[in-house]
Symmetry: C2
Subunit: 108 residues, 2 copies
């Protein structure tokens, strides 16, 4: 019968760890810019986004993966193309209504 009285609050640690990943994903100008563009675009493929944001493809893919892993965006693959869009629900759970406006189409 171990761990009846845990020495530390593990669930709180896990909570912090979870949000750390999400805030890390948000903690970058380029990624905030990507999120802002994805808002206005419905669903966009990497090559179009790459032109829009003026960023080389491999670099963009790197940043998209970080946003995807954090659950802030969603991906749908059609053939060779990957279409990304914002995960509005997740953004809404995370950010203030006021801030959501930066990352929500036709709000405010």
């Amino acid at each position: 019968m171990d761990n009846i009285i845990p020495l530390k609050d593990t669930s709180l640690d896990e909570t912090f760890s979870k949000y750390e990943a999400k805030f890390k994903a948000l903690a970058d100008q380029k990624r905030l810019h990507i999120l802002n563009l994805l808002c206005k675009q419905e669903s966009t493929c990497v090559c179009d986004l790459s032109e829009l944001i003026e960023m080389p493809q491999s670099k963009l893919s790197y940043h998209l993966k970080i946003l995807l892993d954090a659950g802030l965006i969603l991906k749908e693959t059609k053939g060779t193309w990957s279409y990304y869009r914002i995960n509005q629900e997740e953004i809404n759970h995370l950010l203030s209504p006021e801030l959501c406006c930066l990352f929500r189409p036709s709000c405010c």
Copy 2:
């Protein structure tokens, strides 16, 4: 007559830059833990916090400075002591009501 039609939206860049700093401050487990503790503590000096969180003083001061520079906490100095407390207003502007609960005393 320069810059009548700016090539880029500078104000949006500035906005992203501002939030980048704030999210960077939030993008760390230890700092989230500090914020959570400061919520429950009213106002706390570094030495007490250092014991609570089991973190050496210089390391704690480093992280407190990051939170302070981002405007997420406030500092008041009394003699040799520095008392830190959460900047509730700023947190509320930034995070969802649901998330604010993690960093707000007696909420939820």
